[in-house]
């Protein structure tokens, strides 16, 4: 499948490190959720790390991503520091959204993170809009929408992909098909459960990739990003995957899927698989990876401590930013 030459060693290590960072953050957050440090909902990305990482590897800082309720991985892969993520979930002033947002409202536009979302669907339309901007402004920037299989049955998918197609906008639509929307199987919810085939309905290429294989994602995303960047228009990429934690922290898991299925998918863990491959192909030594693992663990632990020590937002600021502060400036008589 990879249409690319073998990855340089440092790229491989970067992919590994990013996936591991996501995993460690999520496991930290899961613990913190139990401890009551996280005040609202927390949907982890465990099992799906290869997708955010494989796609984001091709993005520049000035490219933009739009994400979902399950967006920690996208945020980190786009370059958010774990401190800013964890502090946000702890509701602190130092969080990426200054404590206003929480897990489902992560914003860091300065690095192209244009928001995770509590509503399924809009990210698809907003990425399409970013694509419109980039085309109108004659830039070669690219916009990415990450969304789940659940969003595929939503009208936003239909309208967004169609508009991106007819106007040839530089947008990547990344469907992370983890096979369930909460507990409803995609198999049940979709008349045609193959997402990649839906591209045809809009006249755009639809590609399927193994979402647990970071190299497969990397390769498929490479082609799509290059195409979009050079004016070739949008693409739909379906990454088949599985989340190995419950839909959200604190929820039950084995009423709608058997424990064995989850266990079986854990053996296909994208990080483990990639580690095995890197070692098997003798690209790195186990020791190299162990160092990364340790560094990541420290980074995340430090971020957690930072977050826990961070101040709460000042209640006086609760209404700031409802409107633009430059508003007055533009009002002339």
């Amino acid at each position: 499948m990879p249409s690319l030459p073998p990855l340089p060693r440092d790229t491989s290590l970067r992919l590994y490190r990013q996936m591991q960072t996501i995993r460690h953050c999520e496991e930290r957050l899961a613990k913190s959720h139990q401890r009551g440090l996280i005040h609202g909902a927390c949907h982890t990305y465990v099992g799906q790390e290869a997708i955010a990482v494989g796609v984001s590897a091709h993005l520049r800082e000035d490219d933009v991503i739009f994400s979902t309720h399950r967006g920690h991985g996208h945020a980190l892969a786009k370059g958010l520091h774990p401190r800013q993520l964890i502090a946000e979930l702890y509701g602190r002033e130092t969080g990426c959204s200054r404590g206003r947002g929480g897990s489902m409202h992560l914003f860091a536009p300065e690095i192209g993170l244009m928001g995770t979302s509590g509503i399924v669907g809009p990210c698809i339309l907003q990425a399409t809009g970013a694509g419109y901007s980039f085309k109108l402004l004659r830039t070669d920037r690219v916009a990415v929408a990450f969304f789940g299989d659940g969003a595929v049955n939503n009208g936003a998918f239909h309208e967004g992909l169609n508009m991106a197609s007819i106007w040839k906008l530089p947008v990547l639509f990344i469907c992370e098909n983890n096979q369930f929307a909460t507990e409803v199987p995609f198999q049940y919810a979709a008349g045609n459960p193959t997402v990649a085939q839906r591209g045809a309905a809009y006249g755009l290429p639809g590609v399927e990739a193994d979402g647990n294989d970071v190299l497969a994602v990397y390769s498929a995303a490479h082609d799509a990003v290059q195409r979009a960047r050079s004016g070739g228009g949008p693409a739909l990429l379906e990454c088949k995957t599985y989340r190995t934690r419950p839909h959200a922290e604190g929820m039950g898991d084995f009423t709608y899927r058997p424990r064995e299925e989850v266990e079986q998918w854990k053996t296909r863990c994208p990080i483990l698989q990639f580690r095995r491959r890197l070692l098997g192909e003798k690209i790195v030594e186990a020791a190299d990876l162990d160092i990364i693992d340790r560094q990541v663990a420290e980074l995340v632990e430090e971020a957690h401590e930072f977050a826990e020590k961070s101040p709460w937002p000042d209640p006086q600021t609760a209404t700031r930013h409802v409107f633009s502060e430059s508003h007055g400036k533009h009002e002339r008589h």
Binding site: G99, A181, E183
Partner: protein
């Protein structure tokens, strides 16, 4: 809420035309346990898990109601329902009128509203003022389990579309629930506490906070009459006006936004029909005009609480 679950189950047992649509309302029994156990009783056609197609299944419910069944749409958080506003305002609410009364529209749309537990801005809206603005809809905002049961039963037996919006922080509230066939008429407020000095209208979670504030104020010698409208469309202005004619003072406490809200409507009606009864300005205390912030420190700052309610009542009594 056990009371509404019972009500729904009883009505489904009686009326085979009732079916429920929503995400995770089948086997899972609903995000808020609104359909817990019903799947086993009534099966997958009557407890139908949907794709994430809010607009779609609300539109589907409209067509179903037009053709002889009685859909219940269980949409979890009211915020998700915004994608279906066109179907609600332009279709469901107008269908009886457009067909000059030849079609009925027995649709129940139910879900949660309200701020709390850091649910943040996409899971905390209160939308009843918006729905109450338009003709053709009944809008229920219960605050007590018994009322919720009685109003849900009425909803399931009436031919008009009903929005049934429960504050999620009230779902585990305990309280007396009348057994069996208990229906509560729409448009009948309840006087939740009698008093002499000031009338406070409060809805949903704010009713409970207001009652707490009123209890505290009683010790200061301030006698507060507390009214729960229970339905905001229709709105029982007679009960409110009667109370104001006694107290001469009116405060409306509402978590929802102030502009063009329920408090505005109540104030406007009282400033018209009860003008001569008023001894003081009409006051409103609302949720702050901002998207709901996530952090507990910010969230607490945007909703009225027992203290701010108490202060608002005291201030009004001093006017």
């Amino acid at each position: 809420m056990k009371a509404t679950l019972e009500a729904l189950s009883e009505e489904m047992a009686k009326n085979p035309r009732i079916f429920v649509l929503g995400e995770g309302i089948g086997k899972r029994g609903g995000n808020f346990n609104t359909t817990k156990g019903l799947f086993d009783l009534y099966g997958p056609e009557r407890l139908c898990d949907t794709p994430i197609s809010e607009r779609g299944f609300v539109g589907l419910a409209c067509g179903a109601a037009m053709t002889g069944t009685r859909p219940v749409v269980d949409f979890m958080f009211s915020d998700f329902l915004l994608d279906a506003v066109g179907e609600i305002i332009n279709q469901i609410a107008k269908m009886q009128y457009m067909s000059s009364g030849r079609l009925k529209m027995p649709v129940l749309l139910r879900g949660c509203i309200g701020i709390g537990h850091s649910s943040a801005t996409h899971h905390s809206g209160n939308y009843y003022p918006m729905y109450a603005h338009f003709p053709g809809l009944r809008v229920v905002v219960p605050a007590a389990p018994g009322d919720a049961k009685g109003l849900l039963k009425t909803a399931l037996n009436c031919d008009d579309p009903v929005l049934f919006l429960e504050h999620k922080e009230l779902l585990s509230t305990k309280g007396p629930v009348p057994e069996g066939e208990y229906c509560l008429e729409f448009g009948k407020a309840s006087v939740a506490r009698e008093g002499q000095h000031v009338t406070v209208v409060a809805l949903a979670l704010m009713l409970h906070k207001t009652l707490q504030a009123a209890a505290a104020l009683a010790e200061e010698g301030i006698s507060v009459e507390v009214i729960d409208p229970r339905t905001v469309a229709p709105l029982d202005m007679d009960t409110i006006a009667r109370s104001v004619s006694k107290t001469g003072r009116l405060l409306i406490v509402d978590e929802a936004f102030a502009p063009c809200g329920i408090g505005a409507e109540i104030a406007a009606q009282i400033a018209d029909r009860s003008f001569d009864d008023l001894d003081a300005p009409i006051r409103r205390l609302n949720g702050v005009q901002t998207p709901t912030p996530y952090s507990p420190s910010l969230e607490a700052a945007v909703v009225p609480n027992v203290e701010t309610i108490g202060r608002a009542i005291r201030d009004l009594c001093e006017e």
